[in-house]
């Protein structure tokens, strides 16, 4: 499926749009990490929690559960939260 990558993570992917697979959001992140080593830990911590300022959207809906099932036609967007100042 198509995954939109935020600019801070382009150092891993080299581009904004990438392809990855997974039956759940967690599996999708595992696949992304196989393709782009290191990317997962910048987004998901060692307790399998989304990091506080990283957000996920699936088909434009905010998602907070990594076990969410995905289909190959879903569109996944990883966003660096609009926080900071």
């Amino acid at each position: 499926m198509n995954v939109l990558i935020p600019t801070p993570l382009h150092s891993y992917t080299g581009k904004a749009q990438v392809e990855a697979n997974g039956a759940t959001l967690a599996e999708l992140m595992e696949d992304l990490d196989r393709r782009y080593p290191g990317i997962r830990f910048r987004v998901i911590d060692e307790q399998n929690r989304m990091r506080p300022h990283m957000r996920f959207f699936v088909n434009q809906e905010a998602v907070f559960d990594l076990s969410l099932p995905l289909t190959e036609h879903d569109e996944v967007v990883i966003v660096q939260a609009l926080s900071g100042g």
Partner: protein, 380 residues
């Protein structure tokens, strides 16, 4: 600290809130060439060149949003590669375990353990790499030990930008003899290669009204081991400046002899590479709400040449008034030349140095981001 010979040139490694810089000095330490920024926009908490091989450079990095990592270079920053497995706590099945917020401290292990490094993190954790920083694993049992977790306290007990494990010290005579400090959580020692640690807090004071017998209440800011006498430790604490001569176990508050109007609160502590009686500190205002600025807006380094019996103000060249910055615990260091060069980076982004052990000071960079750490290294 690097161990240069007389022909070495010094490079100063500057880690900041917004990236990293190298400052290359000429032989006289008068002219400085800047190289940077590296990792612009990344928070670099510490950057250390391995004195054992003179080429492995590690940088502890994070950003405001992404998780922590460690970058590695073997060509002094011309190229960087990320750690394949950065420091991370052991996962817990219930997902309630701790997560590393940032790697705060990097220490090369013993000279006989090439490629081995220790890392201290926020929240407090101790990690080790045996492959030059490529992969990291939890070290010792302290990260998950119930007693140590109690001593580490909660986020509410920690320093404002996160509780930290820092000041990992390795006895050059024995790689199994280790120390570390925690803010908060006291000073700890291992004599068995990290299999177990025990507190070393006797004589250290805590904030008024609290029991100094409770490890949790202790807040050592920076602890150093004399390069020429590993039995001598110095410490800048939240509550004073201390010295400990092993095998003794009771810290002596040597900051009592500091001028009363300045006090003995601060963050960094720097030791002389050849004289165990000489140390430098950078006091800050720890009154009222803890402004964490130079006392009275008049920054100064203080030195002792007699193990803390007396202190001397060293401020020639520094601003004489209205300078409201201070120096963080990792942001002051020395080279190993003769006379010793001293370097500190300020919270306002200035890099200062003295080529005569603090007698005179020169600003060698302004307008950098807030400086978190300053290390020196010798290049042949």
């Amino acid at each position: 600290m690097a161990q240069p010979n007389e022909s070495s040139a010094v490079v100063v490694l500057v880690a900041t809130r917004k990236g990293a810089w190298f400052f290359h000095g000429d032989a006289g330490r008068r002219a400085w060439r800047v190289d940077g920024p590296h990792f612009l926009g990344h928070i670099i908490h510490h950057m250390v060149l391995d004195p054992r091989d003179g080429r492995t450079l590690l940088a502890a990095a994070t950003t405001g949003h992404m998780g922590p990592t460690v970058f590695r270079s073997t060509d002094l920053g011309r190229s960087w590669k990320e750690a394949a497995r950065p420091p991370a706590f052991a996962p817990r099945p219930d997902g309630e375990g701790r997560a590393v917020d940032h790697v705060f401290w990097l220490t090369p292990c013993h000279a006989n353990e090439p490629d081995a490094w220790y890392a201290g993190t926020s929240p407090q954790g101790l990690f080790r790499s045996d492959d030059g920083g490529v992969t990291w694993s939890p070290f010792s049992t302290i990260n998950d030990d119930p007693q140590y977790r109690e001593w580490m306290g909660t986020v509410q007990d920690g320093t404002p930008d996160g509780p930290k494990l820092h000041s990992v010290l390795v006895d050059p005579r024995d790689p199994a003899h280790l120390y570390f400090a925690m803010s908060g959580g006291g000073v700890h020692e291992s004599v068995n290669g990290g299999r177990t640690f025990t507190p070393l807090i006797d004589g250290m004071e805590v904030v008024g009204g609290f029991d100094p017998g409770v490890v949790t209440y202790h807040d050592p800011h920076c602890m150093r081991m004399s390069p020429v006498n590993p039995d001598r430790l110095y410490q800048q604490n939240h509550c004073g400046i201390y010295r400990l001569d092993r095998p003794g176990r009771e810290w002596q508050r040597i900051g009592r002899t500091m001028p009363e109007e300045v006090g003995d609160v601060g963050f960094p502590m720097v030791l002389h590479p050849r004289d165990p009686d000489t140390a430098w500190v950078f006091p800050m205002d720890g009154t009222d709400v803890w402004p964490r600025t130079s006392p009275d807006g008049r920054p100064a380094v203080y030195t002792t040449r007699d193990g803390g019996a007396r202190w001397q103000r060293l401020a020639d060249g520094l601003p004489e008034a209205q300078a409201w910055w201070t120096v963080k615990r990792q942001a002051m260091n020395a080279d190993a030349l003769d006379p010793v060069g001293l370097y500190f980076g300020t919270t306002s982004g200035e890099l200062w140095m003295s080529a005569d052990e603090g007698a005179h000071w020169t600003c060698i960079a302004r307008h950098l981001p807030e400086i978190y750490a300053v290390e020196t290294a010798a290049l042949e």
